[in-house]
């Protein structure tokens, strides 16, 4: 599971959907793996405005990455500074959580990640 995907995931429990505390989920005991993936600048520049930047900042810090700026840099700024774009590529696309958990801060449920795959099936008492 890549860091970018964390930005689109939330708790699967119905009653958590309307709670701000359920997003983002928080990684716990995360084992990270770094892949070597070619940067697709066009694709990444188009994805960035679709992210919830505040949630990404939270997750990046939780995973031990340097603090991100308060606001998403503009497209022009990123086009002019390849290093900035590459750093984001590294965080979002090249970094995977292979093992660990994702925790919902609303209900406290922990979803396991094994071999890079998170399991969101709920125990019957949470369905």
């Amino acid at each position: 599971m890549k860091v970018i995907s964390l930005n689109f995931l939330t708790c699967a429990v119905k009653s958590c959907k309307s709670s701000g505390a359920a997003f983002p989920l928080h990684p716990k005991d995360a084992e990270l793996v770094q892949d070597d993936i070619e940067l697709n600048a066009q694709m990444l520049l188009n994805i960035l405005p679709r992210l919830d930047w505040a949630a990404l900042r939270t997750n990046a810090t939780e995973l031990g990455f340097p603090e991100l700026p308060a606001e998403l840099p503009t497209r022009e700024a990123l086009e002019a500074d390849e290093k900035k774009l590459k750093d984001l590529h590294h965080l979002l696309v090249e970094t995977q959580i292979m093992e660990g958990k994702l925790v919902c801060r609303n209900c406290g449920h922990e979803y396991a990640i094994r071999e890079g795959i998170a399991n969101f099936l709920l125990p019957s008492h949470l369905v």
Partner: protein, 261 residues
């Protein structure tokens, strides 16, 4: 085989979750490798839909099975989910041509009625041959709504700018020319056999009657959609159908989430 117990049963003991667990989830867990080995080629209209999206579009494949659509357009950020952990494991590495993919796919194990996605965040979604495995109409409609809820609402004067789109595909009742021969008069709730041949890892044609003793026959539940039924379900939960049609024994629809309810 007609699945008389699904929906048409008036028995109060019918529990759709238990029924689907037996007649859908367990079957896919068991047949996953065989099933996957027969599913490589993307359906053309689905591939066209994925190819039509701008680079960097973020989307979902709800019920991704073995993941054959996840790598069709590598400039999309497409996240797959499926109820079957065994299929999800296969989907992680599927490059869409039956080979192992270099860049692993993004996949999670999730139930289509309890999707783990942030609301209003996806540019697109596909759900191909999935809704027909839900055994009551209210569950099929709830699954449509759950997918639509993930889509971005439109903006701008007409409310259509950047609006997320979902493509849904379901098996049709009207398939008189297929080898199964169902038509308008057939029961809409069917248990469809899947035969795994002992030892070889290969499947028989499902209609093969010369079945040796050691083969295992599994029965998957399907709801076969009548003409217009998929569109009705989308509209019943507030969605808007942009296009719809019939292709090779399936009904399909492309829809949006509709105005906020």
């Amino acid at each position: 085989m007609t699945a008389g117990t699904a929906e048409t049963s008036s028995s109060s003991s019918f529990d759709p979750e238990t029924y689907e667990s037996t007649h859908v989830h367990s079957v896919y867990e068991a047949i996953a490798p065989h099933f996957s080995s027969t599913r490589h080629k993307p359906w053309p209209l689905v591939a066209d839909f994925l190819a039509s999206l701008p680079p960097g579009s973020v989307g979902l494949d709800v019920g991704c099975g073995n993941g054959k659509y996840l790598a069709v357009n590598p400039s999309l950020w497409l996240m797959g989910s499926d109820r079957s952990a065994n299929l999800v494991s296969l989907a992680r590495e599927n490059d869409g041509r039956g080979r192992r993919r270099q860049r692993l796919n993004e996949v999670t194990v999730a139930d289509s009625l309890a999707l783990p996605y942030r609301a209003s965040s996806a540019d697109f979604a596909i759900s191909i041959a999935v809704l027909h495995h839900l055994s009551t109409r209210s569950r099929r409609r709830a699954a449509v709504r759950a997918i639509l809820d993930c889509l971005r609402p439109g903006s701008g004067e007409d409310g259509r700018n950047g609006e997320g789109k979902a493509m849904l595909y379901v098996w049709a009742l009207e398939q008189g020319s297929s080898r199964r021969g169902w038509d308008e008069d057939a029961s809409q709730d069917q248990l469809v056999p899947w035969v795994t041949k002992a030892g070889t890892g290969k499947t028989h044609k499902e209609s093969d009657s010369r079945k040796p003793e050691n083969d295992t026959t599994w029965h998957r539940y399907y709801h076969l959609y009548r003409k217009g039924e998929l569109e009705e379900d989308v509209q019943a939960v507030g969605g808007v159908v942009l296009h719809s049609g019939y292709e090779k024994d399936n009904w399909w629809a492309i829809c949006t989430r509709g105005l906020e309810m």
